[in-house]
Subunit: 449 residues, 2 copies
């Protein structure tokens, strides 16, 4: 039951030969870059709004800033177009073409420009008759379009799912992946496949999806609001046992653009939450912000190397929610199998059903079958004053006898070495996060090192 | 039916003599100041958290900063204690007393300190057996407590309503007001009366309340979140015909602390919204933020003199919501009687039930029976990119033939003089506001001025 039986003869044959599965060697860690959608949407009005419309000018400007403002140095590398780049019609030979007014130099020239900056270039299409905004989709043109993207030197393709049947996707997404593969050009393949199946009520076959896509969208588009960020976090927490096991080097869950950070709807604390939680979730870090106007505090969040290192940890194990305070003095809604049972001193206000959550992601270094961990304390309360969380390392399942060196990644402060029975106390701001890295210490054995 | 008949004989007699009604001459414009609650809550742990606990140290520190950081200069004058200042028991003579550890110098000394800074001093109590946090309430001690507050040189009293019967409030709040009055010391009187009646399902008699209180709380406590701010704004918009007419010099609706601005849960844009909308609503401006750590951008919002001038406009007419976009191309949910009917070019995204609202507050100068206006364009959308609003002055009811001089109060930019048929175009950021002052221009009549 791991593959659906709806494949065409051709594809079925190729599948059996092992050619269909994703073999591009990309995304060994979650991709990082810049993506237009959340901030610039489908603004095509270059006459009245030339600095914000979807145009080659916008992408070149953002590429310039990714380099000059230091984003490239910390790992951001893809510059990704989203919807609304296309002309309304294919060319006379049936090939996709960009809007001639907004992309007068063509897509290949834009890709060249971006490559000349030491960056990579991503594009958007849709497995359907139209893109979500009504531009030509790839249905009926899969091979041609894969070929076109390869000729344009595209490095990354996001394939959306508007105007197509979710039942066709178990066949169609692998099929387009196959055509991408046979171009010979490695192109990272980002699929909206599970999201459209989910909203249509289908069972989602994550095993199949993770064999064919480097990334996949599980849930709603992110919006510029705290409500949207928390709903996304809740979705991943509530469905973690089904979703999380499929993440790993080469194939990742994608909770959508991190990076409404620096825009209009999130406070500073909430921006830290998004960055920290996306790192815990091993999510792609795709900023969607105007890099011309972002303020320094927010840029610093996006460029925090310690937090990025959690996101990019080479083990590629996605984190999970290990505790959630639901009502007064009662905790432990769910437990990661790795973590021991716990009762704790955490207290939630009885007036407030939103309490403290603890999330954990196993990271390097590993020693003697034990992991280090990134731990996030997330405060969902809105009552104005910080909440103290007090918990022993043991209660969170951190049981290395020699202890862990602990660092607060946003405050950039080392908290010293703690052993499992020792108690960790942190003050977590309302709608805020404390993100710690707990690094395994070596036991001082008889033979030293 | 304008007064309830439940008054005691004494109070009834005094009422008929006209002594009961508020006669303190205060709050000719909405009060401005600093209030502990939203940010510091009931933190009584001065041992472990001496800089954030409710103590004389906290209020003296905030008073110092209100002066040294320029808040006093722009109008903030009250320094207000909220709950959790009391000892658990009254003294041997039955009088209220502060917690001796946290207020070792006593309340009179604290009031003196605050007065020495050119500021005024506010305190909190509760018309019930206990305050909301369980400290002694005033029930059974009304006269003594009013006298105590006068002896302490209190300038402002917030009287909460936990642990009392909402049905008793129509008698009890006026009764305590009477005892305040007969002390001879003018003390601003802030009542939670309508809120507790509302939540218990009673009809609220705003005519009575506005005769006896300088301020009254209509709705939920504000929390440190955009959700809380927008629910409050919606409540005032949805109930404006019932609530707004009772506001005016000496007596104001109180949507609670403005000023979660600069704390944890609001973005910069959302802080502007709170400040701007509270000014439109003629609300008290009571900051509840740690003035030691607030960042300059947020301080500038709190100290924006143009916005404060709208709040403090001497006419004291509370603003109303005049338009609300509810779905695609359909607007005009409600209309202020002063404003003419309209159809407009405003467009709301069909994916987003939260659109653009326009609020208007009549302000000075007045000429020939026409008002000037403060106009707020509020964007409830969260879709990442600004929304253009295009509307003529006439469509908003601004019909002065000589036009209006228009100024953007947050951007501090003059937009020139527009006449009624001219079209105003503004870009409103997601979860953001554009606040304009539209000042009447004089007609150039034959006789000049």
């Amino acid at each position: 039951m791991t593959t659906t039986m709806l494949t065409t003869l051709l594809v079925a044959a190729l599948c059996c030969a092992g050619v269909l599965a994703l073999e591009n060697g990309l995304a060994r860690t979650p991709p990082m870059g810049w993506l237009a959608w959340e901030r610039f949407r489908c603004n095509t009005d270059c006459v009245n709004d030339p600095e914000h419309c979807i145009s080659e000018h916008l992408f070149k400007t953002m590429a310039d800033l990714v380099v000059s403002e230091g984003y490239r140095n910390v790992g951001y590398e893809y510059i990704n177009i989203d919807d609304c780049w296309l002309a309304r019609e294919r060319d006379r030979r049936g090939r996709l073409q960009p809007d001639p007014i907004r992309f007068p130099s063509g897509i290949k020239a834009l890709a060249d420009y971006i490559h000349s900056k030491g960056l990579k270039f991503g594009i958007y299409e849709d497995y359907g008759n139209f893109t979500c905004a009504g531009y030509p989709g790839i249905l009926g043109h899969l091979e041609t379009d894969a070929q076109t993207f390869a000729e344009w030197d595209v490095d990354y393709i996001k394939l959306d799912g508007c105007y197509s049947h979710p039942k066709d996707m178990d066949r169609g997404y692998p099929e387009f992946g196959y055509f991408l593969n046979i171009t010979g050009r490695p192109m990272l393949y980002s699929c909206s496949w599970p999201y459209y199946q989910l909203v249509s009520g289908m069972q989602v076959n994550y095993t199949l999806i993770s064999e064919h896509c480097n990334l996949w969208r599980n849930f709603d588009d992110i919006q510029d609001s705290w409500d949207s960020v928390t709903r996304t976090i809740d979705y991943y927490g509530d469905n973690q046992d089904r979703i999380v096991p499929h993440a790993g080097p080469g194939h990742w869950n994608d909770p959508d653009m991190v990076l409404i950070i620096g825009n209009f709807g999130l406070s500073y604390e909430q921006c830290r939450v998004q960055m920290g939680m996306w790192a815990i979730m091993a999510a792609p870090l795709l900023m969607s912000v105007d890099l011309r106007t972002i303020k320094p505090d927010y840029k610093a969040i996006l460029q925090n190397r310690d937090v990025i290192a959690v996101d990019q940890d080479p083990l590629g194990i996605q984190g999970k929610r290990i505790f959630k305070v639901v009502f007064l003095s009662e905790i432990v809604l769910e437990r990661h199998p790795r973590f021991s049972a716990v009762s704790s001193k955490l207290v939630a206000d009885h007036n407030n059903d939103k309490g403290i959550e603890i999330w954990a992601r196993p990271v390097t270094p590993i020693r003697s079958n034990r992991f280090s961990y990134a731990i996030a304390f997330l405060n969902r309360r809105v009552d104005g004053t910080p909440t103290e969380v007090s918990v022993t390392l043991q209660e969170m399942g951190l049981d290395n006898p020699a202890g862990y060196a602990i660092r607060d990644l946003f405050e950039r402060r080392d908290l010293g070495v703690l052993t499992p029975p020792q108690r960790l106390k942190v003050d977590v701001n309302p709608s805020g996060i404390v993100l710690l890295r707990c690094e395994l210490q070596e036991s001082r054995g008889f033979f030293g090192n």
